[in-house]
Amino acid sequence: MERSWWWKAALYGAAIVLAVLYLVPTVAPNAELPSFFHNYFNKRIQLGLDLKGGLHLVYEVNIEKAVAGKVDRLANDVEDAVKKKGADVTVTRSGRDDITLTFKLPAEMAKLDDEVLKPFRRELDVVSRDPANGTVKLKYDADRVAEVEELALRQAIETIRGRVDKFGVAEPTIIKKGTDIVVELPGAKAAEFERIKSIIGRTAQLEFKIVDDGSEYMKKVAALVPKDGPISVVPESWTEKHSGTQHEDVYLRAKEKDRDALNKFIAGLTGDLAVPNDREIALELMSPREVTEGTPDRYYRTYYLKKRAGVTGEYLAMADESWDEMGRPEVAFTMNRQGANMMEKLTGENVGRKMAVILDDKITSAPVIESKIGERGRITMGGYGDPFKLQQEVKDLVGVLRSGALPAPLKKSFETQVGATMGQDAIDKAKVSMGIGALAVILFMLIYYRVAGFIANLAMTLNMLFMIAILAAFEASLTLPGIAGLVLTIGMAVDSNIIIYERIREELRLGKSPRTAVDAGFQRAFWTVFDAHVTNFVAGIVLYSYGSGPIRGFAVTLLVGIITNLLTSVWISHWMFDILVNRRGTVRTTLSI
């Protein structure tokens, strides 16, 4: 054997060993192996959504609504500003980004001067002023529209990611595709599909509302609560830190399992005792650790809230973990300029009261406002529970605050849900078809090309080995079309060998010796095989960029298969032929091909 043959032997041998090592975690996930092994080779093939079961969702962000909402808020601000100057004006939004101001007295139109418009000049353009009718038309700046769209999409992805992380699904994928958001949750339980979809698609709102403590209304309600029932009345009190003012309040409480009874009681408040229009009663689920007296069960308590949200989450710029003087975890947040103004106004007027932090209509906490909160605020978590749990709670709240509300409703444009049984059935069927296909090809090659056919089969097997090892190394997901790609590669793997072998036969027919014929065959057929691989590769790349989900899985296996095939069917099989034709001491006159 020539020296180069040995070099190749070492190289190919190393590649095979490496491939086998990469396959171990996939093939034998529970094998007991030294820990250093697991440090290097821990990646394995994941089953795709169609095999493992799970949810595949594509959402479109309703950007129109995001823009409209933004314009609505601007319209409110302009209205406030003009009214402050004493003009009577009605402000309406028409279309998506047009605002019309109609002054009751056309003469008052002058009050919409540069001073009023100054804070809005970057967002609103004055389109026309009609002194006769007293109307002014404003338009939302077109550049801003694009900005809002971009922001809405990015924020929506973050929001969804924040929510999905809570499901505990192993490897969620949330990616942007054009203006769509693709969410993949392999391994999600079929029973939870409906719930997951409802949570992802929810247009959650973060709100800060003031608790109306010490109200006469709640006292009246408390008096109505039947004694010895599931609902109890609890008085509470706290002292304002700076002024020392005493706050007293009553709330209703029920054990977690008695939530319905509590809700029913509240819903039953009608007539004189109906909840006033500008107030609402909301519940918070309290954990035992937040109670000093140590009630063992979790329970719900009520808050009597001012209905209009003082500030909403959209003005939140940032939220982060932080620690108070006592070293207890808390949430620190930063509002943007506008939000800071609103927050300052809201908290300044309500020092000493409680402010409920509400996400998706559920109160997450209701701390006492100890001083005016401006741009920066803190949310302390009550209770003296397990510090680790507290830490976790803070992390969760930071996550919620950061992800916050969806900037716009989501429209679901695609959905695939696959139960786990479906996947198993598919895997079984795919195994059968793959086995039969491979067997047919192997037999054919053996009969038709004999020893050379054996080499081709060996090369094909190595091709499979490399392919699956590479897929494992990249932690690629194996989908149903991906399996089709694998099977197809079996067919294509022997194709290259057929092209080469036919060429070798031609050379032999010309009367060349096996050794020259093999070399000439491989050399001449190489570019044909190469070109064929390139065209397949091009088609594979187009397929990858066009498709999504399972189709991508197919494209990936196809692309990987093309590369490994070039290696195995051209170079490795050539190397194996060298053994056949170069055996030491003998000169072969025939070739089993």
Partner: protein
């Protein structure tokens, strides 16, 4: 010197079939098949009442919902259809699913994505005109179909809205305020199509008839349209890229033949789906893209030999060279196609769901692809070569007019092997 070896051969060496001489018959067959495809599309859409679309679009292209339903007892497709129809899900497409012939599992395809059909939406809007003491100002259902937005003139309890919806025959999983409280706008999340189908079937066929709904997919109509457009674009993009590569590796005369051959393969494969009215899904499109890559394999094998022989036998007529090359490569063309054909045939017979459609497309495509490299790509190459030679002759007839001609000729010879 080695002795002459005998091989196991399907195509004997020295075979000499006159492919090029009889090309007009073969091209005739191709034209017929392509025309058949183009005729079949409108026939499907307008003539055959039970088809109704140019192709049997899968939900990913057409939009709608596709469910696989497993029953706990055998049922008839007609019963399923009737049960769905009774619940307002008309024109459901119900076919047996899986290879086991037990009437236990069916695939149901519905045009709707949402449980809220247009008429049902109108009905709900009227029914919710007044809820409690609030009246409905605005009713909006999202295009994706899983949500509706309701704006009232007064704030309401979400529960009251859910109850009103229930009375109107529409079930929701979640009702909650949307936007600022003073807007009195509520977002309603409706139950999914699968819950609706389960209810409809259990109601008519007895509770517990539906064992499981293991697979549901739904696609909005707009997204489906977009996929169709993207699909055609991807197909043409792939063809263009391949042709650029071929023109670069061979020379420009080899380009047009491949374009026509690839289009031919794609069109006839689509035709097979039009005639059999099998489901044309995203996977089918993936198969066609694969076919295009694969069909090139055969074409390249033939073209490579043509180029090699053209350099070797410069004195022979080009069409003879081509015919000889096709014959020489005939056995590898047939063998390579056969291996892929049988592998995909195994998938077609033993596979499931999308794998089957994929395999069927591949089966058709492999045959057509092999055929096209011999009978379409090669004749076009000959025709272009003749035109090219004629052009060269005309140019050399007036040498003094074209000063750059000799240089061009040198270049030409340098690139020509």
């Amino acid at each position: 010197m080695a002795e002459q070896q005998k091989f196991f051969e399907v195509i004997k060496s020295g075979t000499d079939v006159d492919f090029i001489g009889t090309k007009k018959y073969w091209i005739g067959v191709s034209i017929f098949l392509v025309l058949l495809t183009f005729v079949m599309l409108p026939i499907n859409a307008f003539v055959l009442k039970d088809r109704g679309h140019v192709l049997n679009w899968g939900v990913d292209f057409k939009g709608g919902t596709e469910l696989v339903v497993e029953f706990s007892k055998p049922v008839q497709a007609s019963q399923v259809r009737a049960a769905l129809s009774a619940a307002g899900l008309h024109n459901a497409d119900v076919v047996k699913y899986g290879s086991v012939n037990t009437n236990l599992s069916f695939m149901i395809r519905l045009g709707a994505v949402s449980i809220l059909s247009d008429e049902q939406a109108k009905h709900v809007e009227t029914a919710l005109a007044r809820v409690g003491d609030a009246s409905l100002r605005k009713f909006e259902s999202s295009e994706g179909g899983d949500k509706i937005y309701l704006r009232f003139d007064k704030n309401l309890e979400p529960k009251a809205i859910a109850a009103a919806l229930q009375t109107a025959g529409t079930e929701s999983t979640d009702v909650q305020p949307f936007g600022p409280t003073q807007d009195s706008t509520y977002e309603v999340t409706l139950i999914g199509m699968d819950s609706m189908v389960r209810k409809a079937l259990d109601a008519k066929l007895g509770a517990g008839t539906v064992k499981e709904i293991p697979q549901v997919s739904s696609v909005g109509a707009k997204a489906g349209k977009q996929l169709q457009v993207d699909g055609v674009r991807a197909l043409l993009g792939a063809i263009l890229l391949i042709v650029i590569y071929v023109a670069f590796r061979f020379d420009f005369r080899y380009g047009p033949g491949t374009i026509v051959a690839l289009l031919h393969d794609a069109i006839i494969t689509v035709g097979a789906f039009a005639v059999t009215y099998r489901e044309f899904s995203l996977t089918t499109l993936a198969a066609i893209l694969t076919i295009i890559g694969f069909s090139m394999n055969d074409t390249i094998v033939v073209f490579d030999r043509i180029r090699e022989n053209a350099a070797k036998y410069r004195d022979r007529k080009f069409d003879k060279v081509v015919n000889h090359a096709i014959n020489e490569t005939l056995s590898r063309t047939i063998l390579t196609s056969a291996t892929v054909f049988f592998v995909t045939l195994a998938m077609n017979i033993f596979g499931i769901g999308v794998i089957r459609d994929f395999a069927f497309a591949m089966n058709v495509g492999v045959i057509v692809g092999t055929y096209s490299s011999i009978f379409i790509a090669s004749p076009i190459l000959i025709w272009l070569n003749d035109k090219y030679l004629a052009l060269q002759k005309r140019q050399s007839a007036r040498p003094e007019r074209n000063v750059r001609k000799p240089i061009r000729r040198d270049e030409e010879e340098a690139t020509e092997p």
